[in-house]
């Protein structure tokens, strides 16, 4: 079809209610049909890799945790694996199981979070509230085990920082039972609801060939029918022994189409898979040390004299996370630290997914890869004065003036200062 004057541009972002994080998508739209999309990112670039290369490895570990609040176990696991590889550190067996338990707990909470967000993008707020209500259980368990609801600060080079004590095991088991009982209800609410199906079936299709050539990872690739799961393909920790199998819509008796519905299927089934893994780990976990460096000074000394390079990978809830690190003897900071978050691989998949879809589908398609923009963007840029950027002080002054104006109009009595 020739481009007519009916084609106009709709900007989505960097600030938009459909986007939980800043990214700019410019759509060329004809009526309600999308003809083209331009993706611009970088609005949340903080320069984390750069900052990491200015800090010692222990500080970098916590920085990596803050690449993303949702994948806050995935990035630390990938970086610890990379550093352990580079510095030749062994991880005690129990610690390996503990890392698996924590990452599967995170997968549950991340997938439930996604389910809620997806429902919200569809205008189905009830499901959002429902899933986020049940998500509290796993957050409570994470809080119970790690002491924090997010940013758990659990992995450390050579092991983990906190053990699961016997008194906590029944609580974790209770949580597993809770979700087992609930999973059917969730599947019912998402996959057998006619209005959800109407909005997600055959929307945002990513074919298996496209997923393969665009190097999609995680549930985005698996929904297209590619059984790609780092836990099964390239084993690490104890995943090789746990018999993880990549979940595709076939496990739900569906032929994969790669649409949003399939992505929901994969994510919800993975919640069940994570429950299985947690249960198995709790049973199989051997006793013993949880770290090979109980004393921090010894760890710091070992890392300082380590020399080498290493890769660490992990299947985060959203897909493959990979960290490359290079250490040099006598330097506490990593010489090179490169992070790849899943969204980095998946962002290219948006282009075929958006093609010829409707404007109404934009939010759910954008959300279907479970984008984590802050994972992907990592450089902070300060722009001074150029391109009519308003400085923060100026913005503050303007908004205060306006509040004053409005309150003066509201009440004849002048307002007292302060926020109380």
């Amino acid at each position: 079809m020739p481009e007519t004057q009916n084609v106009y541009e709709i900007p989505i972002g960097p600030i938009h209610p459909a986007l939980k994080e800043p990214i700019r998508l410019t759509f060329r739209v004809e009526g309600e049909r999308i003809r083209g999309v331009d993706v611009r990112t970088g609005f949340a670039h903080r320069g984390i890799e750069f900052m990491g290369m200015k800090r010692n490895l222990i500080q970098t570990l916590y920085l990596s945790e803050r690449i993303c609040g949702i994948c806050s176990i995935s990035h630390p696991i990938a970086i610890t694996l990379a550093v352990e590889r580079a510095a030749g550190i062994e991880v005690p067996p129990r610690a390996q199981y503990l890392r698996v338990i924590y990452s599967e707990l995170e997968r549950i909470h991340s997938h439930l979070l996604w389910a809620g967000v997806a429902a919200h993008e569809l205008g189905f707020d009830t499901l959002l509230h429902l899933t986020w209500k049940v998500r509290e259980q796993v957050l409570d368990i994470l809080e119970e085990l790690s002491g924090n609801r997010i940013d758990y600060a659990i992995p450390i080079y050579g092991g983990v920082r906190r053990d699961i004590v016997p008194a906590q095991v029944p609580k974790v088991e209770a949580m597993v039972r809770y979700y087992r009982g609930l999973l059917d209800e969730l599947l019912d609410a998402f996959l057998r609801d006619p209005s959800v199906e109407a909005r997600t079936r055959n929307v945002g299709i990513l074919t298996a060939e496209e997923a393969d050539s665009l190097c999609a990872v995680g549930p985005t690739a698996r929904a297209s029918g590619l059984p790609k799961d780092v836990r099964q393909d390239r084993p690490y920790l104890v995943y090789g022994e746990l018999g993880v199998k990549a979940i595709t819509p076939r496990d739900y008796g569906l032929e994969p189409r790669g649409d949003v519905y399939d992505k929901a299927v994969v994510r919800l089934l993975e919640v069940g898979q994570s429950l299985d893994l947690i249960e198995t780990c709790l049973v199989e976990m051997p006793d013993g040390e949880i770290t090979s460096f109980p004393k921090i000074p010894a760890l710091l000394a070992h890392l300082k004299k380590a020399e080498g390079e290493g890769l660490g990978w992990h299947e985060a809830p959203r897909g493959e996370v990979i960290h490359y690190i290079r250490l040099e003897a006598g330097v506490e900071e990593p010489v090179v630290w490169k992070v790849k978050a899943p969204t980095y691989s998946n962002v290219m998949s948006w282009v075929p997914m958006f093609r010829d879809q409707e404007v109404a589908d934009i939010p759910i398609i954008a959300a279907s890869i479970d984008p984590c923009i802050c994972c992907m963007d990592r450089v902070h840029v300060v722009r001074d004065g150029s391109e009519a950027t308003v400085q923060m002080e100026e913005l503050l002054r303007l908004s205060r003036e306006k509040t004053d104006r409005v309150t003066r109009r509201l009440s004849p009595v002048p307002r007292h200062g302060g926020w109380a």
């Binding site: 190097c215 999609a216 790609k228 393909d233 920790l237 090789g240 493959e320 990979i322 290219m348 963007d377």
Partner: protein
């Protein structure tokens, strides 16, 4: 796919290539060895090496990492050969070194369209040129951003860092 197959594919494609096998022991009860291959590739041989890997099985690019080593720029292509085969994936890292005077590398987007994001990122951050890349538009940095942040001799980045340090000092 086994490490041996990958190694044969690589050496057949680029004569003189010497892939180094770095296996890692994984697991607790019945440990297995997960192979990793690292190889130095001249930039002329890069496309041939990636094409050979692609011909040998499903191929995935994780990321290209890079660093500034004085007069040269080192690029590491982290690829996963045999992607999607249970227990049969081999992590391949190809190391390409280019001089700063001519930082040009052939693009592998023709073989792996998914490499575009990471190649574009290298254009922004390291000032590497990729021949044959579909688009060179910025992905992360604003258009017209001065300099390349990962180059150690980049005066613009140095200024930026100084400004950030000053700004952070205010915060403390």
């Amino acid at each position: 796919m086994t490490a041996d197959q990958v190694r044969r594919a690589l050496t057949a494609a680029v004569p003189g290539l010497q892939p180094e096998l770095r296996p890692r022991k994984v697991g607790v009860r019945a440990p297995v060895e997960v192979p990793e291959l690292w190889a130095e590739v001249p930039r002329e041989g890069l496309v041939a090496a990636v094409a050979a890997l692609k011909a040998a099985g499903p191929l995935h690019i994780s990321i290209i990492s890079g660093r500034d080593v004085g007069e040269e720029i080192e690029l590491l292509y982290h690829l996963a050969a045999g992607y999607g085969t249970p227990g049969g994936e081999v992590m391949v890292t190809l190391r390409v070194t280019v001089p700063k005077s001519d930082p040009t590398v052939p693009s592998i987007c023709g073989i792996l369209p998914g490499a575009e994001t990471t190649e574009r990122e290298k254009i922004e951050f390291l000032g590497v040129n990729f021949t044959g890349i579909p688009s060179t538009a910025h992905v992360f940095l604003p258009d017209g951003f001065p300099g390349h942040p990962w180059r150690k001799d980049d005066p613009e980045t140095a200024k930026l860092v100084n400004r950030l340090v000053e700004w952070e000092g205010k915060d403390a």
